[in-house]
Symmetry: C2
Subunit: 197 residues, 2 copies
DNA sequence: AACGCTAGTATACGCTTGTTTACATGTCAA
DNA sequence: TTGACATGTAAACAAGCGTATACTAGCGTT
């Protein structure tokens, strides 16, 4: 057992490459299982590297997680753009994730790692800066932050539930209908003046 | 150090009472920190009981969690009732939780415990039986299950995000307006035929 | 008063965790 | 070729985990 498992030919003794492999393995594993259920030994094995190198190259497990987090794309691209099409874009984003299974690893890691005390400030800051604040910035009218929080809730909640129950049901649903429904949901979240009832 | 911490006078050698204290402590701790971050020693300390009693009375940590789960009230009371008022009732339910802070421990435990492999079937079954299925049963028309899943997502997502970001923003929001907005959200989730756009 | 049963205790077991240490090995300049 | 340094390895570390075991102490029955 040399420690190689996933990886084929690789140039020996390449610091940068090894670091990258560790980072990639960490990203994948954190996304799938969450922070707590991934051990440094799992990461090392998946990267075909030695456990000690994680601490050598990243300092600690949580520092590695932080670097994974920092490297992940945000939903900024979806949020930016004309405010009118925002609900529709958010809906399409969710539907796309459902169908491709390419849900953002950072989101998947997020809701599986909320319990960790050491990670909470990190995750909090990330959610705030990458989702809530930019979303609120695009909204006019009162309660912009509340509405942004609502929309962010929907974005988060889908992940948790989908992973718990499986996404087969949602996948098999009519795609255009689902997008329309989600658009309505996000509109209800974000609209300036909901009709009181 | 006698092991008492939280608990005042208690009748000595009372099996039923000790069991109940352990169950209560477990419910509170699981709800606050999630399954993984609660140790049996924490539970025992909070209950003013000995660690070994957990295994004696419940068999194992996960069996204790299962019993906590089984004892928790579900959202059935909110779901049951006339179908027309369902979105409004769900919205009021969420707003009530925000304002009282009395969010269901089971929900709080849920999204903090999704990562645990041993718990997944348990949680999955719970979500399915206590939320998705009864919700879908109240809906008419096609895609009932998809719509129920959507509503359940919103219910789940709020918890995760709220805990991550704090609920002060939502608390300070106008209560009636928030309810109206959430009603619209749930209507968008549950309505039979969303307008295509 | 002595027994037996049971609630409760103290402690140890085996294992896993993140991290650190001591060492081996490959690479390159001198 | 040799020495220095960077890279990777194996093993050990201390701490924490869930669980099991051997024990003590209280209570009711006889």
């Amino acid at each position: 057992m040399t420690g190689l498992s996933d990886v084929g030919e690789r140039p020996p003794r390449d610091r940068a490459a090894t670091r990258r492999r560790l980072l990639d393995a960490a990203r994948r594993l954190f996304a799938e299982h969450g922070y707590d259920h991934v051990t440094v030994r799992m990461i090392a094995a998946a990267a075909g590297a030695n456990v000690a190198l994680i601490n050598r190259y990243f300092g600690s497990k949580s520092a590695l997680f932080a670097e994974v987090l920092a490297g992940e794309p945000t939903v900024r691209a979806v949020i930016d753009g004309d405010a009118a099409g925002l609900p529709r874009r958010l809906a399409e984003h969710v539907v796309r994730q459902i169908h491709t299974g390419a849900e953002s690893p950072v989101l998947r890691a997020l809701d599986r790692s909320v319990g960790s005390v050491e990670l909470k400030p990190l995750l909090r800051e990330r959610m705030e800066n990458a989702m809530v604040r930019p979303l609120a910035a695009r909204l006019t009218g009162p309660d912009a932050r509340v509405r942004a929080l609502l929309a962010a809730s929907v974005l988060m909640g889908g992940g948790t539930l989908r992973r718990l129950l499986g996404l087969d049901d949602l996948r098999s649903a009519d795609r255009e209908l689902l997008t329309a429904r989600l658009t309505a949901v996000f509109e209800a979240c974000l609209t300036e003046a909901p009709s009181l009832r």
